[in-house]
């Protein structure tokens, strides 16, 4: 049997302490939920994008399986990047029977607002193995500048 000494108790009970404990628990729950469900359901327009930020550039990646380079259009207008394209339906041969059909064909168009100003002259985009990688360099005004501190 554990023996609780009287002095272990706080001098007076905070009536809100229990609410605080519940709130923290809920915070924690929603945090883990967000972490787990991250990447799912965040985007509702195809394609889903990942964006990385480095000191001088932004890198955007997307999974575009089955999209040919000729069928992909990228445009940059101010701070808005637009991706447009389509995935062709395969030639349906005669006399085939489908067992499963999960892959969809169709067109897509998505515009996103870039978080920083970018240099429109320096954009690099490549499509390899179904992955699109767009590298945008930040405009010189948006790149952080190193400030040298002089000792006196």
């Amino acid at each position: 049997m554990t023996f609780v000494r009287f002095t272990d108790r706080p001098p007076f009970r905070n009536p809100w302490a229990e609410f605080e404990r519940i709130r923290q628990g809920l915070d924690e729950l929603s945090r883990t939920y967000i972490e787990r469900g991250k990447g799912q359901g965040l985007a509702n327009v195809y394609p889903a994008l990942n964006m990385y930020e480095a000191t001088d550039r932004l890198v955007i990646t997307a999974e575009l399986p089955g999209v040919k380079v000729d069928n992909l259009d990228l445009s940059l207008e101010g701070d808005t990047l637009t991706l447009q394209g389509k995935r062709d339906r395969r030639q349906s041969e005669s006399g085939i029977s489908y067992h499963r059909r999960e892959i969809e064909a169709g067109s897509f168009s998505r515009s996103i607002a870039l978080p920083v100003k970018v240099d429109p002259e320096q954009v690099d985009a490549r499509l390899a193995n179904g992955i699109l990688t767009i590298t945008l360099f930040k405009a010189s005004a948006a790149t952080p500048r190193q400030i040298k501190v002089n000792a006196e």
Partner: protein, 132 residues
């Protein structure tokens, strides 16, 4: 013809036969499977996989498609994450008898195409009777 708009398809976790020791993600690629008189064709979306990292096997009529994906290049801080990257794994039981020697696979634009030729039943041979 109006084209339909592409939608984001949720990635489903692959069914592994055992638990992984490494904490890696495996997704089941979306597939189309169809059949002609001569062959069974499996098409799978596996963006990010290169030919060298692709593993295909047909054992006891179970076709296993496995693709290992290179980790995405670390190019800074992730500020938007709408999809997760992982390896690909999916298994199918193939009912038809397949000619193992002639299985062909190709990978273009992140889409895998596997052609599994069926073994043709022996054609009844016609025997001509010569009139002597």
């Amino acid at each position: 013809m109006t084209e339909q708009e592409l939608k984001i398809q949720e990635k489903k976790a692959a069914q592994l036969s055992g638990e992984q020791t490494k904490n890696e993600l495996y997704f089941a690629p979306h597939v189309d499977i169809y059949e002609t008189d001569q062959e069974v064709i499996v098409i799978a979306d596996m963006p990010g996989v290169v030919t060298d990292d692709l593993d295909l096997s047909l054992e006891d009529s179970i076709l296993t498609i496995q693709g290992r994906r290179l980790p995405p290049a670390q190019s800074g801080r992730l500020i938007l994450e709408e999809y997760e990257t992982g390896h690909y794994l999916r298994r199918f039981t193939v009912a038809e008898t397949i000619d193992q020697e002639r299985i062909a696979a190709s990978l273009t634009d992140g889409v895998l195409t596997v052609r599994l030729p069926k073994i043709q039943p022996l054609q009844p041979r016609k025997i001509e009777v010569q009139i002597g």
